[in-house]
Amino acid sequence: MTLSLPTLSRMAALGATLCLMTLPLRATPSADELLAAVDARLFLESYVSRVTMETLEPGSPPRSMTFLGQSRKDRGTYLEIVEPARTRGTRFLQLDGSLWMFNPKAGSANALRLSSRDSFQGSTFSNADVGKSQFSDDYSPSLAPDALLDHPEYGKVECYAIVATAKTETAAYGKIVIYIRKLDSMPLRMEYYAKSGLLFKKMTLSKIRDFGGFVRPSVMTMESLDKAGTVTTLTMEALEKKNVPISVFNKNYLTR
């Protein structure tokens, strides 16, 4: 068997990431390595998932939604709502630079184009948060001072911190500060800044679970800082490594 240069390069990157994930780090890794580790911790190359999203907002009834997802790092994300019944069957396709929604009950044959910066289905997550399958596509990282994070589940945690700054116009945020546990490179907190520089959302990652050998936080709680008390919790109920066909990431599949 002959390995091509890109394959070897990819294997080397994977090896480096695995080292970051499994070994206590002896020296401060580079910002690029840390962002690669975050991507590797949160996203598989190709996987399917079942996620429930619940939003609590003062003065409004709780809103809950469950959807099935299919993702590939090199393509994008396909989502389909399975609950509640009112929106069941509505589908989303997040591709590089575009987001599409198709409601088979609407009577239109064409998918509707949405902006990736908008809120995803009334949650504190943006469309881009839900659809993106790696940060390194849109953000370039730099190191920030190490931090002692006060985590609601793990208490005081020693963390690396990186600032991921938007490098594309389509990025949903101006920058994201990511706190990564030194012990195992697990991301535990993210702070989202608007392009104006305003800190307006904060996400806490918790309940680390083993999904068939893939260990990652299963609960992500996004708190809106400009709307006090508004919180969306995204719970990864199931996640399975699976080779999702490339054809899923095309508008033809969305409207099938």
Binding site: T55, R88, K105, S119, G122, T170, P245
Partner: protein, 440 residues
């Protein structure tokens, strides 16, 4: 929504069959595998009432009421490499009362069950890049989400361009994430010709039977029988639309469509062709301008006035924007489209505007307003809706539909939109409805 007039005559047997299809057709065996695809169903049922009147003033208007009872179903079976889809509705609405007006009291049918099948098709995946569809299906052609000026394989059937689907075969190919190709063959005209031809032959057979009976009884009304046969032949010829028979390739409509994604820009090209009837290419684009989605599409009908003409085509086009603002539970959508209609058809004039606004507060309410405004005479069809979500899966809907503008304007009546026919001498100009809907 009554989208299939051919189905309007369905009687009780059709209703029973419809209920059986809608409710019992999905084999429960598939449900166990819903996580991995399997069977999924999305459905809702509504009960309520609609009141239509021929004037804004209820005191002077003729009016008729309709009790609304309907259900919509979307069944989907998905397996590895294949799928089945059935999208249909069952309408058991009936008249609440006869209408009285200047023309006297009319006797309206009390019950008109209607089964409409919007989509019923099978999908077969071809490798990792293609899909073949057989059956009745809606297919996106072009780029327009409000109006698709190039779409003559599934042409505009109502003022809001709701697609009713076409029967035939279509094929979709995906070239990576960014390029989609679609090709389709519609056999709708062939099926229509076949159905009308059969009806004509049936009339012919009846004429022959009449002839035999008359001959046996010693009376020979030859002129009458001859006239019947001529009418049947004419109906048959008309149904075939100048073709040699229901299988004539000249009745087939072909279409292709492709779109490509280039970052924030999407480009689309499409074409529809039917021999000696349709030659319509179209081009469109959409662009995400920081959340404001701009889009435009233009089409040219090259087969105009009974002949192909590259130099004097009928032009059609649409252009506009849509924008969605959202802030957690609140979302506001705005859209404005201009529509150019190059030749009178469903729409009588050239220039139209379609403004649309919708506000949603999740789990609380949705309100919308939209209109189709004829710029030629200033008349408009206006649709308003307010839906409350008092409980999970339960909606309370209030709707209104009315004509604005002068009485001789293009949209002076709701005759093609109101769910009930003219109650008296006048045509309905306003329609209001209330309904409770359950999703399951």
């Amino acid at each position: 929504m009554r989208t299939d007039p051919l189905a309007a005559s369905a009687g009780l047997p059709a209703t029973v069959l419809g209920i059986a299809l809608l409710v019992f057709a999905p084999p429960p065996l598939f449900a166990a595998d819903a996580e991995a695809g399997g069977w999924t169903m999305s459905a809702d049922a509504a009960a309520g009432a609609t009141l239509a009147a021929d004037g804004i003033d209820p005191a002077s208007a003729d009016s008729a009421a309709l009790w609304v009872l309907s259900a919509n179903f979307l069944h989907r079976y998905e397996g590895q490499g294949w799928g089945l889809v059935l999208s249909d509705s069952l309408d058991l609405s009936g008249k609440a009362a006869a209408a009285s007006g200047t023309g006297g009291t009319e006797t309206l049918p009390a019950f008109a069950p209607l089964l409409s099948v919007y989509e019923a098709y099978a999908r077969l995946d071809i490798g990792d890049w293609g899909q073949l569809f057989v059956g009745k299906r809606r297919m996106g052609l072009g780029i327009g989400t409000v109006f698709a000026p190039g779409d003559l394989i599934d042409p505009r059937s109502g003022f809001w361009d709701q697609k009713t689907g076409f029967s035939g075969i279509d094929f979709a190919a995906s070239l990576g994430s960014d390029v989609a190709l679609r090709a389709a063959l519609s056999l709708d005209a062939n099926f229509s010709a076949w159905a009308a031809g059969m009806a004509a032959k049936s009339a012919d057979a009846q004429a022959a039977a009449d002839l035999a009976a008359a001959t046996a009884s010693g009376v020979l009304p030859s002129a009458l029988i001859q006239a019947t046969k001529i009418r049947a032949d004419a109906a048959y010829a008309a149904a075939l639309d100048g073709s040699a028979g229901p299988a004539d390739p000249r009745l087939m409509t072909w279409a292709f469509s492709t779109d490509a994604q280039l970052g924030s820009l999407q480009l689309a090209a499409a074409g529809v062709y039917r021999p000696e009837a349709i030659e319509r290419p179209s081009l469109g684009f959409s662009y995400d301008f920081g959340g404001l989605i701009l889009q435009a599409e233009a089409a040219a009908e090259l087969f105009a006035d009974g002949a192909a003409s590259l130099t004097n085509p009928d032009l059609y086009g649409t252009g506009g924007f849509h924008y969605m603002w959202s802030d957690e539970a609140d979302s506001l959508s705005l859209a404005l489209d201009y529509d150019y209609n190059g030749r009178a058809g469903l729409l009588a004039h050239n220039h139209y505007l379609l403004p649309w606004i919708s506000y949603t507060r999740d789990e609380v309410l949705n309100a919308y307003a939209r209109a189709l405004v004829g710029l030629g005479d200033g008349s408009a069809i206006v649709s308003l809706g307010l839906t409350f979500y008092p409980a999970q899966g339960f909606d309370l809907e209030f709707t209104a539909l009315f004509c604005a503008g002068s009485g001789d304007g293009e949209f002076s009546t709701l005759s093609s939109l109101a769910p009930i026919p003219s109650p008296g001498a006048g045509e309905p100009r306003v329609s209001c409805g209330v309904a409770a809907r359950v999703h399951f």
